[in-house]
Symmetry: C2
Subunit: 595 residues, 2 copies
């Protein structure tokens, strides 16, 4: 039944046939989207990457042709030769780009058939993601998915054009490199030639791009794959794609200008959206007002601190927290006084996810304040709180008292939840901002040491260099993150280019000279031979693409993504391998009983 | 001594300053290439990515400035502000693009210093490649290396532009995938989440690009990294870069047309070279005339077969070979009769590398034939041989008798050697040709089975499909290789898009149904759901780039290559890792004593 393509040569894509082609002989090829027999005439919607065109097989040409066409089923692959004609009046399909025309088929080749599908090739399908991932070749045929991947293709091209225009050089860095664990876990690759030794897949091209600056390339970029063997939270992938760039002889603003040009250009050219001025906010301000370093500033509902009032108030819970170094912050949910006890209980559970042990609240009603905690405050204290939160009748105020981390995490997430609940977030808005002046280090409670908030190659502010060893907590970094609608889409920094400063930073994060040399010796070595001042940044391409396409999951903008547990359901990776393979690599598997 | 960049903003690249800038105040930054004190005036050659400009520090501006400039050494990193002026008459440097001007420095910032270098930053250095690879950040500062990498950047952009123009979609395929060993060894990546299971790094995106065709993307391309854990012969890298593409509803010529457009465009735009008609040669003809499937057709010196004559001749060595299924071929090295015995002995040793047990020869001189073997031939036989080889006085004829593989390998390499010796190869010529009609399978003596000459997804010729199981040796593949000056720079094929044919091919190469399903189940599955006819190709980008730049080694066009033994001398990869890392991955190292 199946035929060869032979000397068939396509003349048109399906979706491109229009009234301008009426009367022309055309040859098209693709997949049978639908097909139906209407009283001996077969109407087939033929689909390719560009869209759908109707093909008509009538007995006028030959009975044989119609008989053959009657065998067509969903997703059969066919090639058709025929003449384009206008559809008879009244039979046009305005939903279809090609809805005014049809192909009057003269020849049909059935090139391949298809089993019945596990799901239909249409935008809204009710099927688990596992099935979509297993049959990715079918899932990707769906219009929405195909458009996502084609959009991503355009994103690559536009991004590269911007960098090329700005004089950047695209350079590939290695994927088989050295394990330098800091932050996430490395994926390892056993060496066959050197028994007991391993390559690591890079978590980012960070050190190589710095080396390229030392080599004098001046401006580097790469759309690079990165690998992190993390516990896959939320919407992460073990391999992901980064728009990576680095520049020499620059300050923060120079790098930020390039990043802004990238983001403005892709939004304008691919979505027709003009991005306005991009404000700059300090880390301190972001934490104070929004409780997070990636604030969604499309709406208010800002956090207010009342630690000073809480410190001396009669409410023991607040007072004790403050006495132990904690803080108290609150938000005013306008019009929220109508929330039920059940709703408030749910919100209390919600903040519990972020470690908050409770969620105090005050309703402002025409009958005065309703709250389990009002009684613990003096009138003066309560007035100060109401004033600070600009409370009015109809509002509800929520309070969290705890360590600063917990308060900020709980309230920033509560803020987002309430903002969405109340419809405060305008989804059509694109809100971009910079967050700067990050602390250089944060204290790792578990390991009882300082660690770099960004990474240990980030330059401290010039004026803070002297404080590196004595007072790491006060040192600010020359780092900058770009935040889009509350999502960090990119980040970077001016790097350390001086060996003495790099050595100090390694010391602060607890690396001995020996450890520093073992892990980062090649960087320290490079810094000895004329390293220029340099800085750079990276955008998460998967995330950016998903946001631009309005997709919730990055998996929908990756052709072959893995599951949350790192599996490729299409190929079955990871999988067992033959014992000889392991032997050649000088490793053996150690599987514990409970696994 | 070191200063901050502060608010210094570069206005020009060094190499771009010209007489058009005379009188202008400029700010430049870069590396001290050379510096010399001429009677209290310091002349510094400042270098960046674009070239060199001379900076003059004179006491006219300030003694302090000159004192500071006197501290400069090789590869110090500096920023300079000054005024461009014409060099005094007679002091111009015609070797330098900027040789007519100099910068009269007013300000100097020393941004970083450098230790004395292990080698000088200049094109011709006498230092082992190991040192260059360890100090890659210095090696890449050399003009030639920097130009190689910048050329490679341009190559990427030009290649992508061609594919974009042709309607191809750039799609990223996974780097963490399933091990499907065939051909080379896989690099493996142990899974932490699934104990005892492994990802593999892809040897090429082959199966994914085929899946993309099944998904309907129609035209795909990618500049993709590939990984092969091979015994690193000659000039290979464990990770290398491929220009990879695939198309649906096409025949060989369609794919070849795109490939020709790629190669023509990069040669024309990047080197100004027009590539003419690209001839097509069958595998059989290439083997017959040149003894190799990647013939360098820039010169003659073709192989002639004399098996028929040898079969019945009196020379027992020849006759026995032919009786045992071997062949005898010869080449005529014009004017080679003057070769000494020593030179002939060396050539005999040379063909021994390729397995030839001897190299028979006949000199044609004014005194008749000189040869140890002439006596074994009748006059008729000898005349036939001389005629076939178009022998004239002054020539030497070389003969190899052995199994066809050995004869062809020995004589094709001897041909190249003699061609180079005699200066027959015009290095300015770019000679591109296609080799087609390859056999589908070759016999693997060691494993006693047929294996795919290209890969098992290559489609057999339509007319040969029926012979797949009965007579694999006679089946030809729809494959095509592009050969440039005797180097295979790309290859591809029309693929199998029908499940039944794919299953047959797996059977021929000795895979049981179970094995086929286990390794390639997802491909077989995809072929069941409407796979279109498709084909594609891949170019080796590293090799292409090296040839275009006239570099002998691909390592010179890769920013961070590995050694022949797979080591990165810069970072020290592969390296040992911490025991906890292995424990998390559920593996342990098994190193044998002798290692």
């Amino acid at each position: 039944m199946l035929e060869h393509l032979g000397d068939f040569k396509r003349t048109h894509y399906c979706g491109e046939i229009s009234t301008a082609d009426v009367g022309k002989k055309v040859r098209v090829a693709g997949w049978v989207d639908t097909t139906r027999d209407h009283g001996g005439v077969v109407f087939t919607d033929l689909r390719d990457r560009t869209g759908i065109v109707q093909v008509v097989f009538t007995p006028d040409i030959s009975e044989e042709l119609v008989e053959k066409a009657k065998k067509l089923k969903h997703e059969f692959v066919i090639a058709v030769e025929g003449t384009v004609r206008r559809r008879p009046p009244g039979t046009e399909n305005p939903k279809l780009k090609t809805g005014e025309v049809e192909i009057y088929a003269e020849k049909l080749k059935i090139l391949n058939k298809s089993l019945p599908l596990p799901f239909l090739i249409e935008d809204d399908i009710k099927v688990g993601e596992d099935v979509r991932l297993k049959y990715r070749f079918l899932d990707l045929r769906r219009n929405k998915m195909m458009e996502n991947i084609i959009f991503r293709h355009k994103l690559y091209q536009t991004v590269r054009r911007v960098f090329n225009e700005e004089g950047f050089i695209e350079i590939e860095t290695p994927y088989l490199t050295k394990s330098t664990p800091e932050g996430a876990r490395d994926f390892l690759v056993p060496s066959r030639i050197y028994p007991g030794k391993f390559y690591a897949l890079p978590q980012s091209p960070q050190l190589f791009k710095q080396i390229l600056m030392v080599a004098g390339f001046d401006k580097y970029y790469q759309i690079a794959r990165c690998f992190r063997d993390e516990d896959l939270r939320a919407d992460r992938q073990p391999e992901f794609t980064q728009i990576d760039f680095e520049m020499s002889f620059v300050s923060e603003r120079d790098v930020m200008d390039v990043a802004e040009k990238v983001i403005r250009t892709v939004y304008k050219e691919l979505l027709g959206v003009e991005i306005g001025e991009i404000p700059v906010m300090t880390y301190d301000e972001a934490m104070k007002r929004f409780g997070t370093d990636r604030p969604d500033t499309r709406f208010g509902l800002e956090l207010k601190e009342i630690t000073d009032v809480a410190k001396t108030c009669g409410f023991k819970v607040f007072r004790t927290v403050v006495e132990n170094g904690g803080i108290v912050k609150a938000i005013n949910f306008k019009g929220g006084a109508k929330l039920s006890r059940k709703e408030i209980d749910d919100l209390t559970k919600f903040v519990g996810i972020y470690g908050a042990k409770g969620l105090a609240w005050i309703k402002v009603t025409t009958n005065g304040l309703q709250s389990p905690i009002v009684k613990f405050f003096t009138e003066g204290e309560m007035n100060e709180i109401l004033k600070r939160l600009e409370a009015e009748v109809g509002d509800i105020l929520f309070f969290v008292a705890d360590k600063p981390d917990v308060v900020n995490a709980a309230l920033s997430n509560l803020r987002l939840k309430l903002g969405r609940m109340a419809g405060l977030i305008d989804d059509s808005k694109i809100n971009v901002l910079w967050v700067v002046d990050f602390p250089m280090f944060e204290w790792n409670e578990e390991e009882n040491r300082w660690e770099a908030l960004h990474h240990p190659f980030t330059s401290p502010k010039e004026e803070d260099v002297e404080k590196l060893l004595e007072d790491p907590a006060s040192v600010r970094a020359r780092a900058y993150d770009m935040v889009l609608n509350g999502v960090e889409i990119g980040g970077g920094s001016i790097r350390i280019h001086r060996e003495d400063i790099q050595e100090k930073v390694f010391k602060v994060i607890g690396l001995s000279d020996e450890e520093a040399k073992e892990r980062f010796g090649f960087l320290l070595e490079a810094l000895k031979f004329g390293a220029p001042p340099h800085g750079g940044m990276a955008f998460g391409l998967d995330r950016l693409c998903a946001i631009m396409r309005g997709e919730e999951s990055i998996r929908d903008v990756i052709a072959f993504p893995k599951t949350q547990r790192g599996q490729c359901l299409l190929t079955g990776a990871p999988d067992t391998v033959r014992p000889e393979q392991l032997e050649e690599l000088h490793i053996s598997v150690e599987v514990e009983e409970e696994e």
